[in-house]
Subunit: 329 residues, 4 copies
């Protein structure tokens, strides 16, 4: 953990980015998983800043799709999708604070084939949906079950193997009074499906209510930009995160930090609004913390900004806008 | 109540569209108003199908803006906006049913000037917002307080008077497990801000959870198409509705019926998706209940469909698509 | 012609709104019809302000679809669609001027069944298209041929007759250096498919190049809001317009005037941008010509503005925003 | 030129990807630059497949912005922006063919400071525009003039230097009958502002009319994803391309090939439609040329596709969707 000692988490966190007590949230400890991000549920765990939590996450279908002959539309029971671990209460967290979550490791678990991806009706980036509501007939449903190991990645077929590049598809804090489906990404995080939320990154999340109430789940073994058909390589994992708390550094949308860059994350429709949110937040961050005039930041990002498309399939689309730390001088 | 005896409510409702017991929800009976549509709150009233409920609604600011010198951004406390009466439990309502709500009357209440409209930062159809996130400076804030009577309408200024054309800005049932801000419109209704939801109309709402859990509020004394600056003529009222319950007629989005037309209502971003939802629902309705081939319905709506823009300012935009009953032969 | 004597055309036009010399553009006089709006073609007619022009318009398919067994995708030859009469050179017109076009009459012509509407692949509001590019299979193609008379309207089937409510689907001036497909609507007019552009209305169009170069065509016998499947009741006509020229009153987007209201017309994607364009132009018009403060206009339109959806199917969507003249006091 | 010998251009091109005759288009040879992509202008050069053309490109402002005290809105004369070299007639090219353009080199030219970027009114990704038409006041205008060398890149300020990563902002073939502003990107290429169109890449463009009529210009010394403020590091160059012609391989949107990946390019609004176009074209390409079932391609891209945002500021937004060649097995 080299660069992390210089991270925002280390510099601003209550725990100074130092690993604290270790906790687990096994399936048994979790008990009932959650399908919304909200303040209306009993906390499953209480931690201090610095805590390290290893959570047994389910796949997005809670393991219900077991075979390539399964028919997703008959098995899945909306809105009980995308099960989440949590909520985790973080001691001392208050509205206006920021939660820092360092993603320490993601390890696949469960019997093979552990991986699942599907094409299902009215969902996906190249089909009519409940929002882009059309009269065309849906595509036929299709299920792929895939073997995954951390060492060898995902065996797509005899010729193609996808490297194991796991990340957390859904992570966030609770809204203050809303309880939002875990299928939705928004200002508090949620179902962003952004591959940068991977091992070694720190994600910063706004605290909207006492205790922050962190949820997470929906880990992907691999995903392309946009999560095109709507379903990445879904798999159950043990995901380990280190949680810190930052006072006096309020943020309005999720932020992310790696060794090389800082990123802001926007979720909205149409897609250009997600890009606007992400880039405006980045302009403001550069102005607030890195000494830029806001318009100079705007002009520099024009030449040096980078965009990562998370999803183009969820109820809101997600993009991350980033700039290399080497430009923040 | 002439045409109503032939309405869908009268033909399909458990109470056959007949007025039942009368109830009130005064401010005192309501107690705490709600800012989300969800299943996590105690019901304020339990009724049988046929019940008539007279509710004292607040304006969208809960009366907090009292003077034209008030500064909305200093007074308003997001997310505690758009207070709602309810939830009303309807006996017998189950997921998959449909609630029918006939809007019997809307009467302004409270001391003059009762009406309020404002321009506030980051909200409105012709300004940058939290979603259409821009670097431009916001417009200056402005408040207008307006006298309203049912007889004479809203006195805009010495030269202009707006007729009193009241409607319910926000009405809907609870989602099954979500609790969504009352600022949002969606499949369950909510903050549609659609002027057709006015006196004499029947709105049909999907039931998503036991008891239906009806909420309503946010009545407008007048509103143009799109609710352009984001704030109609907001005013407190006594709003009286007759509630019926329809079994075996599931719907996916709100529908509306008047003497002359049937309408389907979609809410989404971008705006074309709201239009697609509304028109697809109308095609399907015409196919299911009026004997049309779905593609014939599509072609006829091309020649005879009508669109009403509700709002172009809320988290989702709302449009209603309608066709005259005279074409449904 | 009562209200027209008080119209903007009458008050500001070079010809004071007075009917001048009469001209025709028969099919023979037109010769080759045009499929783009641009400055690169010989003028078909030169007129003075005040001129009345009766043009023989083709239907949008140039008459190629003759039978209900025709298959549009095999017959139509993109981009040679939506044939236009013109260009008409207006003497004295210069960049920065405004053309006023009063729509005097639209009369159906040609052998019965004169009317045509179709469902064709990759075109329409409720299907995937070349822009909303999806993998779903297209709908089956379908053609309806319809009898139309001015007296009795369009006979849809044995039970339904659509009143004859004709309007000009496509009308506009030439861009300065671009030549844009006649399928596109934009700042110069073009394929707006807005039913308000009907008999008795005056449309105002920006002049972008010397002579204005007016084009028109694509008359519809009836059309619903949004032109849902992409094809209204297309029919050939004799369309008669009176053309005037306004100096010193530059406009940026088409405007429209009737006895009762003034309207501004925006075309863009996504649809909310079309609405923003239309409403901003209306704010600015009210400020420039009717004594409103721009923000007051914005607030009044919030209460009294009206929106008409022209098309939700063309390369840009078109909306008109209007306000009653009775509010412009 | 190692991988290029295995490129599609080399395998399918009339000239087999072999360098042919060398040509120049100096400023003097070009004479009048063009501001539209269309078929209405005299060709500036006629070449055979294989030809190598070195063109003296202007910057997007045709050199008009010379000092940081210049005020863009007073100097620039819309629509005479983004001057283009061409059209180049390619012998043998017919509608339905594909042009292959290998970008051999881009070399900055002209006196220092050669580079220009500006913030100007109603243009950019984080401001209201002519389409996203708002009432907010525009940002103040700002000009930055920058020294550029191929060796050292662009000196942004004393602390920041941007590496020289040049690409062609605007390149494409003529539409068949339209003449479209060089500010617009679309199916024929145009103002895509996509950094992947850089030195060493091959771009494939659909031929829409005899001779193909290739235009190019608008080279950027550096640009971030999205070209946020609307203006990259604009600079005049000598840009050298090798042109080949492919018969019997029709394409509907631009494609791009590098050593490592193949890419499809979509341009549309809203942004999700650009993404849909790009990804659908990629699915179809994988199905047509690489042996994939179309739905399998869709599912694999879900896991392994990459998206590059070109611009979020032009009349249409541009994205490229790509997949590594190593997955095309």
């Amino acid at each position: 953990m080299a660069w992390q000692t210089e991270s925002i988490m280390a510099r601003k966190g209550v725990a100074k980015g130092v690993r604290g007590k270790s906790h687990t949230i096994t399936e048994a400890e979790q008990g009932k998983y959650h399908y919304v991000y909200g303040p209306y549920f009993d906390k499953v765990l209480t931690v201090d800043p610095g805590a390290v939590v290893a959570a047994e996450t389910h796949d997005a279908f809670e393991g219900a799709i077991k075979s390539e002959t399964d028919v997703p539309s008959k098995i899945l029971n909306f809105p009980f999708l995308n099960p989440q671990n949590g909520p985790i209460w973080v001691n001392g967290a208050e509205k206006g604070d920021t939660l820092a979550v360092y993603i320490e490791s993601i390890v696949p678990r469960g019997p093979q084939p552990r991986g699942t991806t599907v094409v299902m009706p009215e969902f996906g980036g190249l089909v009519g949906t409940g929002n882009t509501a059309l009269l065309n007939a849906p595509l036929p449903e299709r299920v792929k079950k895939l073997e995954i190991t951390a060492e060898h990645g995902t065996k797509w077929n005899d010729k193609i193997t996808l490297p194991y590049e796991p990340f957390i598809g859904t992570i966030g804090t609770s809204p203050e009074i809303e309880a939002i489906s875990s299928l939705v990404p928004d200002y508090y995080g949620g179902n962003m499906d952004l591959p940068d939320v991977g091992v070694g990154a720190i994600i910063y999340l706004p605290v909207n209510t006492a205790g922050a109430l962190l949820y997470l789940g929906d880990c992907h073994a691999a995903q392309g930009d946009g999560e095109l058909c709507g379903v990445a390589i879904e798999h159950p994992t043990v995901t380990t995160v280190q949680i810190d708390l930052i006072k006096g550094w309020p943020i309005h949308w999720p932020r992310l930090e790696t060794k090389d860059f800082i990123m802001t994350i926007g979720s909205a429709r149409p897609m250009e609004d997600a890009a606007r949110i992400a880039y405006r937040e980045l302009c403001r961050w550069m102005a607030a913390d890195y000494g830029f005039d806001e318009i100079d930041a705007y002009m520099l990002l024009t030449q040096a900004g980078r965009v990562r498309l998370g999803n183009m399939v969820d109820p809101k689309y997600t993009l991350g806008a980033s700039i290399k730390k080497s430009f923040l001088v």
